[in-house]
């Protein structure tokens, strides 16, 4: 049995202004009777320390919405409403509840658990319109989650052969291409964000703790960061390769931004990199309208790893398509089936990125056909960043972020990834899949809303066209 991959969480609370979901206001008709102190088991209600005859303002950060103080106050003096800050953060994709859950996971590293069944909408867009399957009877057990059996979340980066060739003496004549293993199907990617050195260092250290890599613009790699060069994937334009020889020499992986010129001469580009180093190349392709076309061509030309970069909400990058643009789920499905059709799926590793915001998105992206994922915003949310979608994308960094010890910031990201790892194990365990490598394109283990709804309700209720 391989050594078990484990991420160790440690509580890492931030001293910041928390966004909370409810506001409770104590009306003037309060008679300071203290009933609410007794009934709130979360201690939202207390007396004032300076004047214990009076009630302090409710501490609604701790409110869990049980309604007891509301219903038991003899005067009906308490009013509760949804907090404005809560309804303002996030947006249609980065829902306030997602952000709050990510903060919590970064704080304690635990799998979010709650009672009373599912509370959300029946279905949604993108990854919210699919469910994962489970096995009723025959499957590896929950022991995999709790220790006795091993569920492996490891994946490889690189090209694989469709088949091996042997000579007449049974000797292998195929050259098996080099691959790099990751114990966890998530890369970090901060190419889209301007971050302080302090924050970059914290993220990079977290990448090193959980044994993954950070994609970072080559120009931002300072000597402080170079200490962790094993975990760095420098990203650069193909035209800049010769400029950064020193850094490229140390890299195991290099990320190159896609340009149309590559389609013609990908081999030349590889040669150029090979001059400096034997690194594997990741081509970062924006998820534009004809992305499956580009990916297929790049693969045919020998690309080993391709990162699909959708926008921060997982949408297609295409000005003109606006709201009709595809979402990451469908983009990945289209690319995967195109590569399968062309019989070249195994020659390339697909990394899905943009709009990977929750643990469930990772195995779902893989079921749709990617080999692994890359994340950006969740890393920042772990550090207390608030995301706003309206009127336009905005990230608000907590004040004094650079004064928080880097150790704590690193731990928060490690915690978040620990929580995601446990959740991914839960989903794999339920599906009865022990190897993350086997998730790729296993759409039979997914239930897609459009398909099942059409198959059942569509067939039953669709009016006959006359």
């Amino acid at each position: 049995m391989p050594k078990k991959y484990h991420i160790t969480p440690k509580p890492a609370p931030l001293d910041m202004d928390y966004v909370f979901k409810f506001t409770i206001v104590r009306g003037e008709n309060c008679i300071n009777c203290g009933k609410c102190i007794k009934v709130c088991i979360y201690e939202a209600h207390k007396r004032r320390t300076d004047d214990p005859r009076k009630m302090a303002d409710p501490n609604t950060v701790v409110c869990r919405n049980c309604f007891r103080c509301i219903q038991e106050c003899p005067r009906g003096a308490l009013e509760k409403s949804i907090n404005k800050d809560y309804s303002n953060i996030g947006g249609a994709f980065w829902k306030p509840d997602i952000l709050m859950s990510l903060w919590k996971q970064a704080e304690d590293g635990n799998v979010p658990v709650s009672g009373a069944g599912y509370r959300g909408p029946f279905t949604g867009i993108g990854f919210d319109s699919m469910w994962t399957d489970m096995s009723e009877i025959v499957r590896p057990t929950r022991d995999g989650i709790h220790g006795r059996e091993y569920i492996n979340t490891g994946v490889d980066l690189g090209s694989k052969l469709n088949h091996l060739t042997f000579d007449s003496n049974g000797q292998l004549i195929s050259v098996v291409p080099e691959t790099i293993d990751l114990p966890f199907p998530i890369l970090f990617d901060i190419t889209a964000y301007k971050l302080s050195l302090h924050v970059k260092e914290a993220i990079l250290k977290a990448a090193s703790v959980i044994q993954t890599c950070l994609i970072i613009p080559v120009t931002e790699i300072t000597p402080e960061l170079e200490k962790h060069s094993d975990n760095i994937i420098p990203s650069l334009a193909s035209t800049d390769i010769d400029k950064h020889e020193a850094i490229l020499k140390k890299a195991r992986l290099v990320a190159i931004d896609y340009s149309d010129a590559m389609l013609k001469d990908f081999q030349a580009l590889k040669e150029k990199i090979k001059k400096h180093n034997h690194a594997l190349t990741i081509v970062r392709v924006p998820a534009v309208k004809n992305v499956e076309e580009i990916v297929a061509k790049l693969t045919q030309n020998g690309a080993e790893i391709i990162q699909i970069v959708a926008d921060y909400r997982g949408q297609e990058i295409n000005e003109s398509s606006g709201k009709d643009g595809r979402l990451l789920k469908d983009i990945i499905r289209a690319i995967h089936s195109r590569l399968v059709e062309d019989k070249i799926r195994d020659s390339v590793t697909l990394v899905a990125s943009g709009g990977i915001g929750m643990a469930e998105h990772v195995p779902k992206a893989m079921l749709c056909g990617s080999d692994l994922t890359a994340i950006d915003i969740p890393l920042l949310v772990a550090l207390g960043v608030r995301v706003f979608e309206e009127p336009q994308k905005l990230l608000v960094f907590p004040e004094g972020l650079d004064k928080i010890p880097s150790r704590k910031l690193t731990q928060r990201i490690v915690n978040l990834m620990g929580a995601w790892h446990s959740q991914i194990l839960e989903m794999m365990g339920a599906m009865g899949i022990r190897e993350a490598r086997r998730l790729r394109g296993e759409s039979g283990r997914a239930i897609f809303f459009e398909e099942i709804d059409r198959e059942s309700f569509g067939k039953l209720f669709k009016k006959e066209k006359r």
Binding site: F22, G27, V39, I41, Y42, R64, N65, C66, F67, R68, I70, Q71, E72, C73, G76, A77, E79, K80, S81, I82, V111, P112, V113, S114, G115, A116, G117, Y118, R119, G120, P121, F122, T123, W131, T132, D133, M134, S135, E136, I137, V138, R139, T141, R142, D143, I145, A359, E360, E426, G429, A430, M431, I447, F449, I452, S456, F457, L460, F461, K463
Partner: protein
């Protein structure tokens, strides 16, 4: 037809105030004339003797905008136009898309009065989830056959195999789901069993063992045999009419159970025949079951221990739920109980509740049709659960192909659960339902809880009878599989 044991009595909320839907605001223009206190028949405005000021309005008693057409409406009667009416922002903090505030309020009214709400401002039959049951509507015929309500039967037989085992008939096609000893308060657990007895239906032990306090109700309790086999003994199998083999549950399909060490108190450990303070895992699945043949061995074992009991098999809703159902039939089960992914009452990982396994609506049609194609549909009882919130959901589930349903959350809401989801954090439910904390578990007694449940079951039965009457049917079994009586608001128009 309701059993003669059912007695409807008003059983009001345990709390002083209800959650208000409306807000009545009195502005500074008020001169304390007292007109509003006199005119409002619902007691929203109070003026106590000796005080010359009217008290702040008691919002939850106000009937809302429909009052504005009444001649007693305080808004129009106030000489100073000092009163205004709006939706209360507090109402938005109650409920969620699946269980809307109206649905929770409606269920509370049913549990209090025993009948569907008379108020017309509550949309309590459908939720706001945007899919599944919430998109289905009944297509009532304009001129149904005339049926007297008294002639309508809602009873269903549970043994359709005709294999010589007990002929168990329940009076209403719904029963209570398993909530284990240790996960809910004793009053909750006993009231569920007591109500099941009153309504001549069932409740289930859950996997925590069969506590002695349920013995008086054992003809209406299902012993659950789950993967951990906690507290399962020959006598707990022998004393009941139905034994349920639980493979999986909708809230956490494929994940088994996990009772934290701190929740494994002396009493819980004794019931489960385990060591106090240790974490208890119910593995997934049964470690001795890797095929339908193995599954049959389990059923045969239970059948040998109890020669008359019916066998129920509870599974979740994977893609191949139809095959599992047919397999269970051939293995000898009387009831196949499918538990959809969106339901559940106990604590579960959010990721599992939202993402794993299909919603019950699809699974019902899938299983019903597959059993039909296999020619065995009439020999097995199909029970659906996991998202059956209202009497309308129940009737829709039956139209889709179920014989009946199991409910969990709705029962808890009848006991004034607000669906806050804190059941398993810290001391447990602060409203005294899903907790064994010595103080919190005493917040209500069994008598109150039983009457609330009996009332809610009655309101559901009244609604079901009403639906059957509108279809001109005499028996709830006529409704099974009648998808032609439903329409879908996206597809059908």
């Amino acid at each position: 037809m309701k059993p003669s044991t059912v007695k409807i009595n008003k059983m009001p909320s345990r709390f002083k105030h209800q959650v208000p839907k409306y807000k009545v605001t009195r502005s500074d223009a008020c001169i304390n004339c007292g007109t509003c206190a006199k005119t409002c028949p619902y007691g929203v405005h109070e003026r106590s003797e000796g005080h010359n000021k009217v008290k702040p309005p008691i919002d939850y008693k106000c009937i809302g905008f429909e009052c504005q057409s009444k001649d007693f409406c305080c808004i129009t009667k106030c000489p100073r136009k000092a009163l205004s009416l709006s939706l209360n922002p507090m109402y938005n903090t109650l409920g969620d898309p699946r269980w809307t505030a109206d649905m929770i309020t409606g269920t509370w009214i049913m549990a209090e009065t025993g009948y569907p709400p008379e108020r017309t401002d509550l949309d309590y039959n459908v939720g706001n989830s945007g899919g599944g049951f919430d998109k289905l509507r009944f297509k009532f015929p304009a001129k149904p056959a005339k049926v007297d309500k008294a002639e309508i039967s809602t009873a269903i037989p549970l043994n359709r195999r005709k294999d010589g085992r007990a002929d168990v008939v329940i009076s209403t096609p719904v029963y209570g789901g398993g909530m284990s000893f240790g996960s809910v308060s004793l009053s909750t657990m006993v009231s569920k069993a007591h109500n099941a007895t009153i309504w001549n239906t069932f409740t289930c032990t859950g996997e925590g063992g069969f506590p002695d306090i349920l013995k008086p109700y054992c003809d209406h309790v299902i012993t659950q045999v789950a993967t951990g086999l906690f507290g399962v003994r020959e006598e707990t199998i022998q004393r009941v009419k139905i034994v349920e083999l639980k493979y999986a549950q909708g809230a956490k399909p494929g994940l088994g159970g996990h009772l934290l060490g701190e929740k494994n108190t002396e009493a819980v450990a004794k019931m489960r025949e385990a060591v106090k303070g240790t974490s208890l895992f119910s593995p997934f699945p049964f470690h001795s079951v890797y095929s339908i043949e193995d599954h049959k061995k389990h059923i045969d074992w239970i059948k040998a221990v109890n020669p008359t009991a019916l066998l129920s098999v509870k599974v979740s809703t994977p893609n191949d739920v139809d095959m599992v159902a047919v397999g269970s039939y051939y293995a000898g089960a009387h009831i196949i109980h499918i538990d959809g992914g969106y339901g559940g009452t106990g604590a579960a990982p959010d990721i599992a509740k939202k993402n794993i396994a299909m919603p019950i609506e699809y699974a019902i049609t899938k299983v019903h049709n597959f059993l039909k194609a296999e020619g065995v549909r009439d020999a097995i009882t199909l029970i659906a659960s996991g998202g059956i919130r209202t009497a309308h959901d129940l009737a829709k589930a039956i139209c889709l192909g179920a014989n009946g349903a199991v409910i969990g959350t709705a029962e808890l809401v009848a006991l004034e659960c607000v669906r806050c989801g804190n059941c398993e954090s810290g001391r447990g439910c602060s409203r005294g339902i899903a907790t064994t904390d010595s103080v919190l578990a005493d917040l209500f007694d069994e008598k109150w809880a039983t009457q609330r449940l009996t009332n809610m079951y009655n309101a559901w039965n009244v609604q079901l009878v009403d639906i059957l009457q509108k279809f001109g049917m005499h028996d709830v079994s006529e409704l099974v599989g009648r998808t032609d009586l439903l329409e879908h608001i996206d597809y059908s128009h």
